[in-house]
Subunit: 319 residues, 2 copies
C-alpha cells in the first residue's frame, strides 16, 4: 500500500525524517503524526509552535492544536491552552472523548492536568526577548500580525490506508488574550476522510476561518480533482471572493494528500513544505504563487543559500 | 425585495414577532438578528441560551456565540464566555475586528469588559436548581448530554438583500470547563454568503463539528439546490457517513434561507423552528424526520396541546 506524509513549513523536515522509517515499517498514521508534531513543538527555536512559541500581547504563550482521524472521524482540539508542553497530544486524547472533545482556555489546561500533564512555563527566554522587543515597537506603531504564519500542519497516510491530520500553533504573535485562529477548527484548519484525503491550512487565521478551506479541498478531491487542482482552485476561488466581499485577504497556504499518496499544495505567498511518499524520503520544497494563473504555484527546491540562511536563523546548535 | 427570517426552536417565536415589523420597514438584517437573539438570551426561562442558560459541571455558565455578515464576510465569535449578558453582541462587535475576531475563555470576557459590558452573574436561580438536581443524578449514573440541543440559530434576509447568520448557546448541560460545541464555529455552527444563502445548525456539537454542515448547506444552495434539498441532503449524507465511520450520530438540525426568502430545514429528531417571509409574519412549525426517505422531514404546525404544554413549561408569567 502507498504511504506518505506532507507538512507545512521547513520546520517539519527533521521531524518527518525521524518518523519516515516508522511509516515505512507500518507504524500507524496517528502515532507518526503525533510524534512528528511533538518534536516540532518541543524544539525551542521554532518560534511559532509549542515550547518557544511566541506569546500573546500579555506575554503568555497560548497554544492551539487539533487532531482528526480520517477513518474513525474522531476529532479533538484545544485552543488558548497555557502551560502544557504538547497540545497535539492533548488534542489527540480529546479526540477519544464522545463529549467535550474541544476544550479552550482554563478548561483545556484543567483537562491536560487531569490527564497527567505537568504544568510548565512555555515561554522560552528567546521568545520573551522577541516579545519585549515587539512591545516597544508596538508602542510606536499599529499592531500587525507576526510576519509569517507558521502553524505546523500535517497529513499522514499509513500502509494500512489510515489517514490523519493534525495542527499545532502558538497563533498570531502579539495576539490578544484568548484569540483563536483556524488551526484548532475542523474544516478550516484541518480535515480528513481516509477514503478521500486530508488537508491542513496555515496563514492568517481570521481569513482562513471564513474559507473552510481544508474541508473544501478534501471535498474537491472527493469530486475527482487531483490534490493539486483541489487545493489551488479552492484557495484561489476563496481569495477572489474574500477580496471582493471583505476588501482584503491575508496570507494563506494549504497542503493536502490523498489515499494514493499523491499530494497538493496551494499558497498566495512564498511557502515551504516537506513531503515524503512510498518512493521518496522527506524533501523540502518551496512554493511561490504565479500571478494571473488562477492559483497555480511554482514548486522548486529551495536554494542552498536559502537553506543555509534558514539554518543559521533557527540556530539548531544553540539548543 | 424579498425579506425573511428563520430561527431554530420554538423559543425564537416572540423575538421574531417583535422584530418582524422592523424588517418590514427596512431595518438591516444585522440589527434585526442581534435584537432578536438578545431577546432570547435575556429571557431567563430559556435554559439553553444567555441568562438562565444551564451551567457546566462546575456550576458556571459559559456561553458560545457567533455572528457572520453574508455581504462583508465579517465574522466574530466567542466561546466559553463567562459573566457577560449578551454573547451575540460581543460576537458582532468582534466581527468588526480585522484581527483577534474569535476570542475564548478569559480573553473573551476581557474583551467584553473592555468594550463596556458589565460583569454579571449569568446563573439564574432556576438554572442553579436544575444543576444541583443533575449533580445528584450524575453521581449515580454516567453523564449524558442535556436532553435537547437548543442553540438559538438565526438567518435573516433584509429588503436591501443583506443576509446575516448568528448563533448563541450555553452549550451542553453539565459540559466540562471550556468545552466548545459547533455554535461559535464558522462552517459548522453557521455560514452565510448573501449571494447564495445562510444556514445554522443545532444539535450535538461534537458531531456537528465534524460535519461542517452549515457551510455544506450553503454550498449546495450555490449549486442550484433548493434550501430544503440542500439542508436535507447535506444532513442525511453526513449522518450516514458518521454512523459508518464513528458508529453513532447525535441529534442534528439545520435551518437555511436563500436570497429569494425561500427556506429549508433538516433534522434527525423532532425539531421546532420559526419562520417569516415577505408575505407571512412569524409562524411556529414542527419538523419530524421520516424514516427511509434519505433525510426528508414532515413539517406541520404543532398541536394546540403541544403549544400549551410548552408555554406552561417555559412559564412566561413568572419572569
Amino acid at each position: 500500500m502507498s504511504f506518505g506524509m506532507i507538512a507545512t513549513w521547513r520546520m517539519a523536515y527533521e521531524a518527518l525524517c525521524h518518523q519516515y522509517d516508522a511509516l515505512v515499517v507500518g507504524e500507524t498514521a496517528g502515532n507518526v503524526l503525533e510524534a512528528a508534531v511533538k518534536e516540532v513543538e518541543d524544539f525551542a527555536n521554532f518560534i511559532s509552535v509549542g515550547y518557544g512559541g511566541l506569546p500573546n500581547e500579555a506575554g503568555t504563550v497560548q497554544l492551539d492544536a487539533a487532531f482528526m482521524d480520517g477513518t474513525t472521524w474522531e476529532f479533538g482540539a484545544v485552543a488558548a491552552l497555557e502551560d502544557i508542553a504538547n497540545p497535539i497530544t492533548v488534542a489527540r486524547l480529546l479526540s477519544k472523548e464522545r463529549f467535550n472533545s474541544m476544550r479552550v482556555g482554563a478548561g483545556a489546561r484543567e483537562y491536560a492536568l487531569k490527564k497527567g500533564f505537568k504544568a510548565q512555563n512555555m515561554l522560552s527566554p528567546a521568545a520573551e526577548a522577541l516579545w519585549q522587543e515587539r512591545i516597544e515597537k508596538v508602542s510606536q506603531a499599529e499592531l500587525t500580525p507576526y510576519d509569517g504564519h507558521d502553524t505546523i500542519g500535517m497529513v499522514v497516510l499509513d500502509r494500512q490506508a489510515g489517514m490523519v491530520a493534525g495542527t499545532s500553533s502558538s497563533g498570531l504573535f502579539m495576539k490578544e488574550n484568548g484569540r483563536v485562529g483556524d488551526s484548532p477548527l475542523a474544516g478550516s484548519g484541518l480535515y480528513v476522510d481516509h477514503e478521500i484525503g486530508g488537508a491542513t491550512a496555515t496563514g492568517l487565521g481570521e481569513d482562513l476561518t471564513k474559507g473552510i478551506l481544508s474541508y473544501e479541498t478534501v471535498r474537491r478531491m472527493g469530486q475527482g480533482m487531483s490534490p493539486m487542482e483541489a487545493a489551488q482552485s479552492a484557495l484561489h476561488e476563496f481569495e477572489v471572493k474574500l477580496k471582493r466581499k471583505y476588501g482584503k485577504a491575508g496570507a494563506m497556504s494549504l497542503i493536502c494528500l490523498n489515499p494514493a499518496g499523491e499530494w497538493g499544495i496551494a499558497t498566495n505567498v512564498e511557502f515551504t513544505f516537506v513531503v515524503a511518499d512510498s518512493d521518496n524520503p522527506p524533501k523540502i520544497y518551496m512554493a511561490k504563487p504565479v500571478s494571473d494563473t488562477a492559483g497555480k504555484v511554482l514548486i522548486e527546491e529551495p536554494s542552498q543559500a536559502w537553506l543555509t540562511d534558514y539554518l543559521s536563523n533557527v540556530n539548531f546548535r544553540t539548543e
